[in-house]
């Protein structure tokens, strides 16, 4: 039992920190810190900087152009980047599709697609959920019918995050209606430029439009874009969903959000004193900080096991639940902290290139939006209800 990092790990942390100091554009970190929206170009700029250093694909092996980091190194990288308010790495190509291709894709697919992901030639998005298939993903209906060298795809996907920027989508589609619903699903790579595809933004409760509906009408997909075997897509999807996700707890995000909350609570005045000195508000903050301190260690326990090669199982479900609860509670407290200035809804001021002045203190404006936006944390990526079912079955054996 040893809570300290090795010398090598400390040296790596120093290297990451120095790199961020030198290479992370302040323009980007300011945007992240203040909760402003990033443009597509912002994301691409940051990806390119990381790729140049060889640090874009933290969870790919070296042979594919990844870093070859172990779980602890990845954890350190995540801690440092979130603390420095670096943009998060857009996960769809790097963290989701990449590992699936490496595990189940053909040699040709890997050789063609992986470099394009690293170089930013493609912007991927994810085609999993459908209007009738959310938590119950296996009931999906989007259909791909084999027609010579192509599949013809018809149907609809939804909740497609940043689909408005994407030129490629990886999709789960139904290729057979026989057997159990999990059977007969295939994993296809689809070009978004196909004329049969229509993308419609979904405006969300916080006023943003980060997710989309994607409609497929007789979309032609070459058979070489099938990953792995036909009708085995469920296995690949599950691999992706339960694939080692060391950052599922979001400790870095939570720490950054907590620091922001404390900063605001020092600036906001209540009864003529800083809000942070209000005993009840301070107690609420302390409670969530204490929970976060424990959760960070639970996360490290899982990370350190993963670094030793033990695949985390249902522990990820615990981290997902606790991690999202903590982040949502911090968001709620931050909304509370800004007081009456939680009310203005001046979205324009957060948009890229806006000249609109915010209303009230500059830190206040994004806080209600963030509170509402992050309600998604307990819904997506397997809702917290789904995670509890996993825990109940896999760990408790109920």
């Amino acid at each position: 039992m040893d809570l300290s990092y090795t010398d090598e790990q400390n040296a790596f942390r120093a290297e990451v920190r120095a790199f961020l100091q030198e290479k992370l554009p302040e323009r980007l970190s300011d945007k992240v810190r203040l909760g402003h929206e990033l443009t597509k170009e912002d994301h691409e700029e940051w990806h390119a900087i990381l790729n140049e250093k060889g640090w874009l694909a933290g969870n790919w092996p070296k042979e594919h152009g990844g870093t070859g980091w172990d779980a602890v190194e990845r954890h350190i990288f995540e801690e440092e980047t979130t603390q420095a308010h670096a943009p998060r790495i857009v996960p769809f190509g790097i963290n989701m599709l990449g590992p699936v291709l490496q595990k189940f894709g053909s040699k040709e697919q890997n050789e063609y697609w992986l470099p394009r992901i690293l170089n930013g030639d493609d912007w991927w998005c994810q085609g999993y959920s459908e209007p009738g298939a959310g938590s119950d993903l296996a009931s999906l209906k989007t259909e791909a019918v084999r027609d010579g060298d192509h599949y013809i795809v018809n149907g609809q996907k939804t909740w497609t995050t940043l689909g408005q920027y994407a030129n490629m989508i990886f999709c789960l589609v139904r290729t057979s209606k026989n057997g159990k619903p999990q059977e007969g699903i295939s994993f296809l790579l689809i070009d978004m430029d196909d004329p049969g595809i229509e993308v419609r933004p979904i405006v969300l409760i916080d006023g943003g439009a980060e997710v989309n509906e994607v409609w497929f009408k007789d979309v032609k997909v070459p058979v070489e874009n099938l990953v792995g075997e036909e009708n085995k897509g469920w296995t690949y999807a599950k691999y992706l969903l339960t694939h080692e996700r060391t950052n599922i707890a979001g400790v870095g995000f939570a720490n950054a959000a907590l620091e922001n909350l404390k900063r605001i609570a020092r600036l906001e005045m209540s009864h003529g004193k800083p809000l942070i000195e209000d005993p009840l508000f301070a107690a609420k903050m302390a409670q969530v900080e204490i929970a976060l301190m424990a959760m960070a260690t639970t996360n490290l326990r899982v990370v350190s096991k993963a670094a030793e090669g033990q695949a985390p199982g249902a522990e990820s479900s615990m981290l997902k639940i606790k991690g999202t609860e903590i982040r949502q509670e911090i968001n709620a407290l931050t909304r509370e902290a800004v007081g009456p200035y939680a009310m203005p809804f001046v979205s324009e001021a957060l948009e890229p290139g806006s000249n609109t002045e915010p209303v009230g203190p500059d830190y206040a404006l994004p806080m209600t939006k963030t509170y509402f936006n992050n309600r998604k944390l307990s819904i997506y990526g397997g809702s917290n209800e789904v995670q509890k079912t996993i825990i109940s079955k896999a760990i408790l054996e109920l």
């Binding site: 959310g134 969300l204 409760i205 005045m269 209540s270 009456p340 203005p344």
Partner: protein
């Protein structure tokens, strides 16, 4: 002891519920949220014609109600519809004009009740948070009137208001109860810089900078605190009732959704964990309903008892609102987060109730201080 509504109030409730259902539909909401005022003029006129604005005033003041349970009936129905019409500003600013105004000043109430005049109450300041006594805007005598200088924050309905009731200090230090006075400022008064914006609640609000703005004193000098507290108590009853209506609307949407949405081959309402959570939501909303009754039934009691109920009710409403908002969204899943679906506006507006007139932490702490006193 009687918990049924009087016949008159029952009629008001029934009529208002029908009216709101018809006049505050989805297209009204979308138009309001996209619009320039944060409310629907048609709905406002309709409310005036139905006598709903009048129901907020006593007969002496030209209305035909004005009691706590009149407020609760009206605002619960507004909440149920998710309506954004600035009636709370009438309770605040209108209530203060009625209580403190000269006959001349009170004359405006007739056109308020007729739906022709819009009001706002500019009391909160950038550093006052929820404290009612923390006023630093200054009033200086000038001729037979006063001039005001200072800043007012998040003045709901400010951009639309024809008359703004503004608090300012005629004497004393920033957190003194003594020395606070009230004034009436007219729309477009010289020296008043008003920046309007929309809020998460759908209403519009304004930041107001006052630079030697000519203003008319409302009532006497320096003694406005007690009346402000009285008006805020009434507004807290109204706002709590509105929150209750919003909760009921969220609950109905969610319960309906649980029956209709299927996953894993059955309606998700058949899953026991969701059933139990929905039962908890229901129980807490009943608590909220009782809390509204407690406050609205005690608005005319002596200050100690009234304020004890103000803080108890607002604290409970805030806590239940958070539960209802978060559980409603979570039980819906993704659809609950889309702007198109009714829940988005309802939960935003319900959440914002905690940011007006004091939040849960503020009132919990205040309740302990009132109890100790």
């Amino acid at each position: 002891m009687k918990f049924d509504l009087t016949e008159e109030r029952q009629m008001l409730q029934d009529g208002l519920r029908r009216f709101m259902r018809d006049s505050w539909d989805k297209s009204t909401r979308e138009a309001v949220l996209d619009g320039d005022t944060g409310y629907s003029s048609e709905a406002w006129q309709g409310l005036a014609e139905m006598g709903v604005i009048g129901a907020l005033f006593t007969e002496d003041d030209g209305g035909f109600g004005g009691a706590g349970f009149d407020l609760s009936v009206v605002f619960e129905e507004l909440g149920r519809a998710g309506a954004t019409e600035p009636l709370l500003e009438v309770v605040l600013a209108g209530g203060l004009i009625a209580r403190r105004g000269s006959d001349d000043q009170k004359a405006v109430l007739e056109s308020v009740i007729a739906g022709e005049t819009q009001l706002a109450f500019a009391h909160t300041e950038p550093a006052s948070r929820y404290d009612l006594d923390r006023v630093s805007t200054e009033a200086t005598k000038s001729g037979d009137g006063f001039t005001l200088s200072g800043r007012k924050a998040v003045v709901v309905n400010g951009p639309n208001a024809d008359h703004i009731v503004v608090s300012a200090r005629t004497s004393g230090e920033v957190a003194d109860r003594d020395g606070i006075s009230l004034f009436v400022v007219k729309k477009g008064a010289e020296g008043m810089d008003l920046r309007g914006y929309r809020t998460m609640a759908g209403s519009h609000a304004a930041e107001i900078a006052l630079d030697n703005v000519q203003a008319e004193l409302l009532g006497s000098e320096g003694d406005a605190f007690d009346d402000i507290e009285w008006a805020v108590a009434r507004a807290t009853g109204a706002l709590s009732a509105e929150a209750l209506g919003l909760m009921e609307a969220c609950r109905k949407l969610t319960a309906d959704y649980l029956k209709q949405r299927t996953q894993f081959g059955k309606p998700i309402g058949k899953f026991q964990a969701l059933q139990f959570r929905m039962a908890d939501v229901l129980i807490e909303i009943e608590q909220a309903r009782s809390a509204v009754i407690n406050l609205c039934g005690n608005l005319d009691q002596p200050r100690d008892l009234r304020e004890r109920h103000v803080s108890a009710t607002k604290q409970l409403i805030g806590a239940v609102a958070k539960l209802v908002v978060e559980e409603s969204i979570q039980m819906h899943g993704g659809i609950g987060m889309t702007e198109e679906y009714d829940l988005a506006h309802l939960t935003r507006r319900l959440t914002m109730c905690d940011h007006r007139l004091g939040d849960t932490t503020y009132h919990l702490s205040r309740f302990t201080r009132l109890a100790a006193a």
